[in-house]
Symmetry: D2
Subunit: 132 residues, 4 copies
């Protein structure tokens, strides 16, 4: 994400791009891709049926992370719409992390790693929200 | 993107995730965010009217990069749909880079950096396409 | 959206797809496209500078509506993640409608129509949320 | 999509919004939602394993249709980037329709309907491409 970060730091209308925003932007992109990869890996598991709930949470989490990432990349969102979207992303990441952790404990490596990405994104959202 | 990359490398159904795919995935995310940030920075320029064409190309390039990034994150896309989407991304990145370079030469720093992100993504798409 | 609605109504795992969900799904798609069209129409206005705030709210509203539309199309989302995403969409639609209404009263037809789409989507989200 | 269509028809910078563009925009939204609903319905099937290829094609088709829909909603895209994106959407819709038709013939109603949505979108893309 280094080009995007460089632009945000020289953006004429967004002089206050914070460390928390840049961290949350990167976490959203990582979590979106991790959830999409995890959902697809789940589809390749022997026991797909067991993974259906995880796949659904992965998809929804990826969609919300992708949208928050897009909104943050613009650098100028603020107020109630941003706060509510951060809350939506926190809820999506938490739900997905809870489910992925369960599977991770049963040995599914992609779920264990995905849970880490979700927790990191949840945390980055909380930290950005706290600066608002 | 390190969680996503880790998952793709252990994905049970995508054993052949290549260096080119991982590079293209990262380039898509960087380019998507760079284009969104550039479009928003353009909106903050004194002479917005001058930037309208650039904003439109930024938006379209961001949308195509976002979608290619999502498709690549799944790790299993192939064949004609993938090739055609890579071509669409190459065309979007090229058009946006051409326009941003023009503005970059006139001193617009965000456009100069965005053009770099677009060229890097265009190149990464071509390299992935060549492995197909 | 008639194919999507037909699938949701015969979806083996989503037997309780409500009238409110189908209405909200259609409203999200209409509002997303209306906001994208309005943002682009704003870019074509003589006085673009005056429209910058509206363009930004249009973009963010379109992104959130698009994601909620995708989540609803799956037919099985529920609980806290869905509620929080509905709240985020309500906030985005409200902020965009407020701004577009101001411009609509000054004679901008695309903003007047876009405000209608945002209010309709906000309302559809509230009605779906009330059924939860 | 009636608000979005109304805006496109009064868009100051897009005087030539064609019947084909409006039809393709509506088809993209319908197909995106149909593919997402079909993918989720596939996850609820008794024999999920059998549906994995279909789910993947559904996802990719939905992503490309969503992006083309967003690009078309702006009303001003043109040239090589638009043509290449239309080609990508044609390829995605064709691949998904071929797979869904196979399942539809075996009695899966959601796949049969989804194939219809994909064919309609493929056709709308071809017709818009022919006007370019």
């Amino acid at each position: 994400m280094h080009h995007a970060q460089q632009i945000l730091q020289t953006h004429p209308g967004a002089p206050t791009v914070s460390r928390e925003l840049l961290a949350c932007l990167a976490a959203c992109h990582d979590c979106e891709a991790a959830c999409l990869a995890c959902a697809d890996a789940c589809l390749s598991e022997e026991n797909v049926k067991h993974m259906v709930g995880c796949i659904r949470l992965d998809r929804d989490c990826a969609a919300v992370c992708g949208t928050l990432g897009a909104v943050l990349a613009r650098g100028t969102a603020s107020g109630e719409p941003l706060t509510a979207l951060l809350d939506a992303c926190i809820a999506a990441c938490k739900a997905c992390a809870d489910e992925c952790e369960r599977h991770g404990k049963m040995g599914m490596e992609h779920c264990r790693v995905c849970a880490e990405a979700c927790r990191a994104c949840e945390q980055a959202c909380r930290q950005l929200r706290a600066t608002g």
